[in-house]
Amino acid sequence: MTADDFDSTINVRARKQRPLIRRLLLIPFVSGAIVAAGMLMPDATASLFYRGALVTAALLTAVSALMTSAAFDKGQKLFAAWSALGIGYALAAIRHSMRLWTLLLGGGITNRAVLDTLLVLQNVLVALALWWFVRAWQTSGLAAPMPRRTQLTWIFLGIAVAIVVGGYPLIQGFQTAGTDTVLLVSTAGDMIGIALIVPLVMPALAMRGGLLMHTWLALAASEVFWLLYDVWVGTKGMIGLGPATATGVEQILRIIAVMFAFVATVAHRRSRL
């Protein structure tokens, strides 16, 4: 009698969870479709709508990430990773809430130093979180041995993509650092995330067919959409679309990126007994 014959509880549960987890992957695209409605709104309304969507997405991701971290002991890499991701997105939610408050009521916290500090912390924490996800897999003892040359090739490929995609906006950011810290810090954080796409995809590939695959896959997908967001921000001026459409696409890509991080948090919880 094999494991399949007696249809173990584990098999039954996995069969039940698999389609649910797969359906989670639709959430980012549904969110993007909802945000697309902003393109049909007057500019002022659209700004509120986009900002509100970001606050909601960031808050959902923060809460979910912290819930996921609770399953791990302090000192474990995935505790640190999920906690950092949760706090990072909580800071994002706070920052965007401040901006939303200002848009709605005209006052609130507008101090540039406060907002930029939140931005820097957010980017550092999310980048750290992704690094810890990669390290958790590498130190789990499950990573199949790979020739060092192959490993390095993939890593350098990821870094090269990050430099190509992020290089131009990063240079722009340095040149306008006094007035555009957002671009500089955001790009630097995104570049680290982009460089980690390949190291995040590798555990997903190694665990293909397993429930845990979806967590690393969703994290990698989140970074792919941050990559697309950076490419869009860097090139939208050259494409010649109207400002409402260009902004709309930018916001769609951003929401999809955030919601893939949310999906990763939920997928991990659903993968556990």
Binding site: M1, T2, A3, D4, D5, F6, S8, T9, I10, N11, R13, A14, A71, F72, D73, Q76, K77, L78, A136, T139, S140, G141, L142, A144, A206, M207, R208, G209, G210, L211, L212, M213, S271, R272, L273
Partner: protein, 81 residues
């Protein structure tokens, strides 16, 4: 209890639901060889707890302590241990 398949391969199949068949095969193989000095096919039913013990750190890393212990308990239950 599964008696048509070597018990370590049953463990491999069950773990595969979480970490995929490629990684579970690699994990069971490594622990069987390092901890029990034998190939997975030769691991006896009595050695399964030791196999699960060897897999513990990896499972705890990916699933967390409580979930990893629950999974190991469930596997032991499925194998009648």
């Amino acid at each position: 209890m599964a008696n048509g398949k070597p018990p370590a391969l049953v463990v491999q199949d069950l773990l595969g639901q979480y970490m995929g068949p490629f990684t579970s095969k690699h994990a069971v193989q490594i622990v069987s060889r390092q901890t029990l000095s034998r190939e997975p096919e030769a691991v006896t039913r009595e050695q399964i707890p030791a196999l699960l013990e060897g897999l513990g750190p990896s499972l705890r890393t990916l699933l967390g302590k409580a979930a990893a212990e629950k999974l190991a308990d469930q596997i032991r239950l499925e194998l009648g241990l």
